[in-house]
Amino acid sequence: MPEKVYAGTAVTVNDEGFFTEPGQWREEMTSELAREYGIERLTEQHWQVVKHMRYQYEQNGTGPNVRALARSSGVTIKELYQLFPKGPAKLAARIAGIPKPRGCI
């Protein structure tokens, strides 16, 4: 498993950049994580989505897919794509330090 350092702390991620141990994630890591995935500045709305993603993971053991994310966070799918271009659910999950949302098979 690759190791990465965010906010001065080493964490383990998988080949696709998802945290393998969500417990290692800290709020201070988000801006560095966001920059790594091409988001220069985290706005209030980014934060809302990232926090929501984290919350959903803690409740359900998996992050939501983009449609469920839109429904439960109140941010429309279009807006989610503006905030997190190319795959909001995956990008927000990486930044929130949770595993890849379990796609349905």
């Binding site: 799918i77 279009k78 794509y81 379990r102 796609g103 349905c104 098979i105």
Partner: protein, 418 residues
């Protein structure tokens, strides 16, 4: 004291569970199945209708005929469930009280969630084969398609039978070759996933098959808009795919009544369910089978069949006040039609992805490999569906637990012998 079991939905899961429960409990329970219509569609047949390989009338039968004597059938639409007071309200005002509720109402198509999908061109240049009307309309449209770009598009996951759109591509390739016009058609599969399928080993095999047949693959395409007039799919990240004929699998949700019932469903109106016991996370007296459940397995008839064994055992235990002992492992089994009289077979569960080998044991049908035998298996599935799956009978040698013998686990490390 007579216990009341109410089953919402008389499709694949609801019918088989009603029959199993009746066999097990006899007159000790009053079993009622509710469905809003009396037309049970054999859904795997919908794939074949557009190609003239099945006729609509032949894949529909009355629901009541599939239920054992002693099971009550009520034709009516569910309006809502009151999980606190343990009753179901139908649209016609009827109220049904229950001791155990089984949710078997499947999933519904919501094309209206995609901009333009129901707009100009619907059932003309933009089609679906996921319901009977759609499959029938496509059966009329395909013979007039003489060339151009045919695009098969999955809008978003989850969908039922996630291999069906791929099967549609393979059958379309065969159909167009048969008509002698394959060289005039560009055929493209457009998916929101990052590959042809969800799991690595099967994805490699299926992507190889697409390539072999000259079917292009566009991945990570999240369709935001379908423009039937201009002939164009537009993704949320503003990529476009142009088409002359589009076959679209619309977004799926759980049923509306789930959303109308406080506390019953999740954001997409599926019911949160324990993936192992099939008891809902909502209330201990609610169990869920088939497509309606929010669990990480395929939405497929075979899954509903395997779940039936576990669910019935657990419902009986729950009624007897015993702890739930039966566990579902996520077993899924799908034939994948690949055209030219061949098919592949995939068999997997929560922990084991589809692997090559043989099913159900070392002597058996080839897994993840095209063969005529599998195609015959798929053809036989229809009579098996009406005769064994709906009556809720177990098949000798094939159980709810996924078989491990016969599977080539070396394929996981890339050291496959195949």
């Amino acid at each position: 004291m007579e216990r009341r079991i109410v089953i919402l939905g008389g499709g694949t899961g609801g019918t088989s569970v009603a029959n199993r429960l009746r066999r097990k409990l006899g007159d000790d329970a009053r079993i009622t199945v509710v469905d809003r219509d009396d037309r049970h569609v054999y859904q795997p047949g919908l794939l074949l209708v557009p190609f003239g390989l099945a006729v609509p009338e032949k894949i529909v039968r009355p629901r009541q005929q599939q239920l054992r004597d002693g099971v009550d059938y009520r034709c009516g639409a569910v309006d809502r469930v009151d999980v606190d007071d343990r009753h179901v309200q139908l649209l016609d005002g009827t109220v049904l009280g229950y001791d155990v509720l089984v949710i078997a109402s499947g999933t519904r198509l919501v094309p209206e969630e995609t901009e333009g999908l129901h707009g100009p061109g619907w059932h003309e240049t933009v089609h679906t084969f996921y319901d009977l009307d759609g499959a029938t309309a496509l059966a009329s449209a395909l013979p007039t398609f003489d060339g151009g770009h045919l695009v098969v598009n999955v809008v978003d996951m989850p969908i039922k039978c996630p291999v069906a759109p791929l099967e549609f591509c393979f059958l379309a390739d065969w159909y167009l070759r048969d008509r002698g016009i394959r060289d005039r058609v560009r055929l493209t599969y457009v998916t929101p996933l990052d590959g042809a399928f969800t799991k690595p080993v099967a994805t490699r095999t299926l992507a190889g098959l697409l390539e072999e047949k000259g079917i292009e693959l566009v991945t990570e395409f999240n369709t935001g808009q379908v423009d039937g007039e201009a002939g164009r799919l537009v993704s949320f990240d503003e990529r476009t795919v142009e088409f002359d004929l589009a076959v679209v699998v619309p977004v799926h949700s759980g049923e509306e009544y789930v959303g109308r019932s406080p506390g019953l469903g999740d954001e997409l109106d599926f019911v949160p369910t324990d993936e192992s016991t099939l008891q809902s996370k909502v209330r201990p007296d609610i169990f869920v089978i088939g497509d309606a459940a929010a669990i990480p397995t395929s939405k497929a008839g075979s899954v509903a069949h395997f779940e039936g064994e576990v669910l019935v055992d657990n419902v009986v235990r729950h009624l007897a006040g015993e702890p739930l002992a039966s566990r579902f492992d996520g077993h899924t089994n799908c034939f994948v039609e690949t055209g030219f009289g061949k098919a592949m077979l995939i068999d997997f569960n929560y922990d084991t992805e589809p692997l090559p080998g043989r099913f159900p044991s070392r002597v058996g049908l080839p897994l993840l490999r095209e063969s005529r035998l599998n195609h015959l298996g798929k053809l036989m599935f229809q009579s098996f569906y009406w005769r064994a799956l709906l009556p809720g009978r177990s098949i000798p040698g094939i159980t709810a637990a996924m078989p491990r013998t016969g599977k080539d686990f070396d394929a996981l490390t890339g050291a496959s012998r195949q």
